[in-house]
Amino acid sequence: MKKILAIAWKDFRITYRDLTALLVNIAAPVAMTLVMSFAFGGSDTGFSQIPVGIINLDGGMIGDIFINTFESEELAAYLLPEQYTDIETALNALESDKLAAVIVIPDGMSDMLNDPSGDDSAPISNDGLKIELYPNITRPVSVEIIESILDSILIDLNAGFAAGSLGFSQLIQEGLVTTEELSNGLGEAIGEKLEPIFGDGSSQVTLDAVYQEADSDTGFSWLSYMAPSMAILFLSFSMTNSARSILSEREKGTLPRLLISPNHPGVVLVGKMMGTYIIGLAQVFIFLVISRFLLNVHWGGTVQVFVFTVVMVLSVASWGILVASFARNSGEASAVGTAITLVFAALAGNFIPRGNFPEWLKTIGYITPNAWGIEGYLNMINGATFSDMLLPMVVLLGMSILVLMTAGYFFQRQYRN
């Protein structure tokens, strides 16, 4: 055991004295997580303020409704509205990708609502009551959000004017008011009574939307997703690199020298594997601590995070060791290991949240330790207890044993002679 630890410790020291390894193992995942959290602002959907240009040529009540809504506090987190005075400047900004969309409220829109005859109950043609939207087609998601906000305003506006039109025509039909009375301010006074129904635009009947993760305290956030995701991705890279050192030693002649020493060949190989594992453990634990204090990621209960990490690192390391067991040289180990790392990362959702995957792709992802790792850490971030984590831990442990046994078989074949 002492010999195994001595070999492992030697590999560990060599790795963490190498600046490149430190960059790849520690700095890169922290930097990537930091950049991701900056990029997505810690918001639930990943969206941040969408720049939208508004040209209010109307200057009346309708124009004010749109401006007030787009500049409201409720939408301030999603929109970055900017008013323009001329369409050319706004479209130039759109063309140069500074805006996601330009909204034009046409001139005289409010005036058109007031019939020149003074009959507020008369039907109004909707020709010319069109809000113009110029979308930036390179920002389809932002445009969809802006469109849905516009739709929401229009539904309420249409309902408000429909109510007025219907109510006033009833009053006139029943001879309760005259058109003159309505145009002399009575219409406006009565219209104000509609304020409780249409005033804040909100409805008494709403949707109570609950997303799958929303039963937790924190819900989904890019930071909570990307932190474990980057930790596992960079762990996979370093495990591949570390395991291939077995082959590098063979190429340099140090491994054959070790194998002819009084040490049992198994001791040497287990020592090398142990070194890989300790390097991975150190990498993930350092990342957990840094991300906890620097990025404020709450990983969950200490005991379950510790045990889960021990099992998860073993599982990822076992794949690196498997590659080293059958590769003919360190170059091949590096190429195959990197390929496996990337395929696993793509299937598991290390780059794009798994929630966006169709079911079949999510299921395929479970053949990788990455998917179990990401979901395990996410569950712990969302408050999973030790017993909740038993299944992923058992799966990861089972995977490790199976992969290590296969690696053992290949090692035996390689080093038998």
């Binding site: 490149t20 790849v24 890169a28 990537m32 900056f38 990943g46 941040s48 303020q49 309708i62 063309e95 996601a100 109004i124 909707n126 009551l129 069109k130 110029y134 979308p135 087609i137 390179t138 389809p140 998601v141 969809e144 469109e147 929401s152 229009l154 539904i155 309902a159 004017f161 109510a163 007025g164 039109s165 219907l166 109510g167 009053l171 029943e174 009565i190 219209g191 009574k193 509609l194 129904i197 249409f198 409805s203 008494q204 009947v205 949707l207 109570d208 939307a209 997303y211 799958q212 190429a335 990197t338 990337l342 793509a346 959702g349 794009i352 949240p353 929630g355 995957f357 169709p358 792709l361």
Partner: protein, 410 residues
């Protein structure tokens, strides 16, 4: 000189493809990633046979079974974003959910119409899958449908308020007036007064582009990602040749430094061009991504991106100490630069300051150019700035790389 350059190019090609695994990185993984990321980003928008309904399905349990709940269902159908699967009981819903994993379940509770009638508060339970582009789109669509269908009640109640200002209504009269108003409101709202007119971007493609197709993003994005790996792979060759003395020995031969660098840069550039052209053809013919009408212009842009990446490989090769370091950094740096530059997810969902900061990366400019070609269908004029910036990046990286290589070996 041409013959020497050709020899260097040939040697580099032979070295690069000496092992079959190289093809995995060159074509296998890029194709796999393009498909996976495209499916993840595009979801239901991924290309499908025309007779297949690709809209996400939602399960609706209508426990109210009234005119109002019917109106809500009609509005959802009219919105056309989702495919409706209606069931009559919770038990049936659970069975259906078990069979087909629907991304959303909406319950219209008993008393929905009464709540609208009496202007009472009511929340309709909507269970959604994990937060994703699809589930967010479903929530938005249902929100809009609910607002649309309940607007009828707002109109009817509003008109009643107006009538009540001048007429004292008995309860029976009020009820009768409300029912009439509801019918009238439905008619009026069929032709809404205000609407939105969408004007296409004046310089956009005359042909409609499926802007929500995830493959538009993944085809260009993964091309940038994997070509960067090939291009930065040049750093390993530069570092290796410096490390094992090949570069120094070359400098003692009649081959000039200029010939050496041109040969090296050209081999990497040609390699990346072959890779990019294959990936463009794959995107174009298999994934039906519209890569624009001008193959020549596209080739020019690919070459500019290739030049910037090749030069970056040279610079990286001159900065690292060993080929092993270059090897460890190539994939990670490529992945990082590509993802930060908008190759993995659209930059539009990031804050404006982030979008400005990442313009220091050549990958950002490459993605901007590809988006202009694919989505906007722009010509040379539209991507001139991107071309100029990429060439600028290339020249800068080349200068630093050659300077460092000379210094390192002197």
């Amino acid at each position: 000189m041409i013959r020497k350059i050709f020899s260097i190019v040939k040697a580099d090609f032979l070295l690069e493809f000496a092992y079959p695994i190289s093809w995995v990185f060159f074509l296998g993984l890029p194709v796999l990633f393009t498909i996976i990321i495209g499916v993840a980003l595009g979801g239901s928008q991924a290309p499908q046979p025309s007779d297949v309904d690709t809209r996400p399905s939602i399960l609706v349990i209508d426990l109210d079974q009234t005119v109002s709940s019917g109106l809500l269902l009609e509005s959802i159908i009219k919105d056309d974003t989702v495919r409706l699967v209606t069931v009559n009981s919770i038990g049936q819903a659970e069975f259906e959910q078990e069979q087909n994993n629907h991304p959303a379940i909406l319950t219209i509770p008993e008393g929905f119409e009464t709540a609208l009638q009496e202007n009472k508060t009511l929340a309709l339970p909507l269970r959604l899958g994990e937060s994703s582009y699809t589930t967010i789109a479903i929530e938005n669509s249902l929100q809009s449908a609910l607002q649309q269908s309940t607007a009828v009640w707002k109109v009817a109640r509003g008109s009643l308020v107006i009538l009540g200002e001048r007429k004292d209504l008995t309860e029976t009269e009020a009820q009768a007036a409300l029912e009439t108003a509801l019918t009238d409101a439905q008619e009026i709202l069929k032709n809404p007064l205000f609407s939105v007119e969408i004007n296409q971007d004046p310089v956009s493609s005359p042909e409609p582009v499926d802007i929500m197709n995830g493959f538009n993003q993944s085809s260009a994005g993964q091309l940038v990602t994997w070509t960067m790996i090939t291009l930065l792979g040049g750093s390993i060759i530069f570092a290796m040749e410096r490390e094992n003395g090949t570069y120094q020995r070359m400098m003692t031969t009649p081959t000039s430094r200029f010939t050496y660098f041109i040969g090296k840069l050209l081999s990497r550039l040609l390699m990346s061009l072959v890779q990019m052209v294959i990936l463009v053809l794959f995107g174009s013919f298999i994934l039906k991504v519209d890569w624009g009408d001008s193959p020549l212009l596209l080739l020019v842009f690919l070459a500019c991106f290739g030049f910037a990446g090749t030069a970056l490989g040279l610079m990286l090769g001159s900065l690292v100490k060993t080929a092993k370091q270059a090897d460890a950094l190539t994939t990670i740096l490529s992945m990082m630069m590509a993802s930060l530059g908008g190759a993995w997810w659209p930059l539009e969902i990031t804050p404006p300051i982030y979008q400005s900061v990442v313009r220091v990366l050549p990958t950002t400019w490459a993605m901007m150019g590809f988006n202009d070609i694919i989505i906007k269908g722009q010509g040379l004029e539209g991507i001139l700035l991107e071309i100029a910036v990429l060439i600028g990046f290339g020249l800068l990286f080349c200068a630093v790389g050659i300077f460092r290589m000379r210094n390192n070996t002197n």
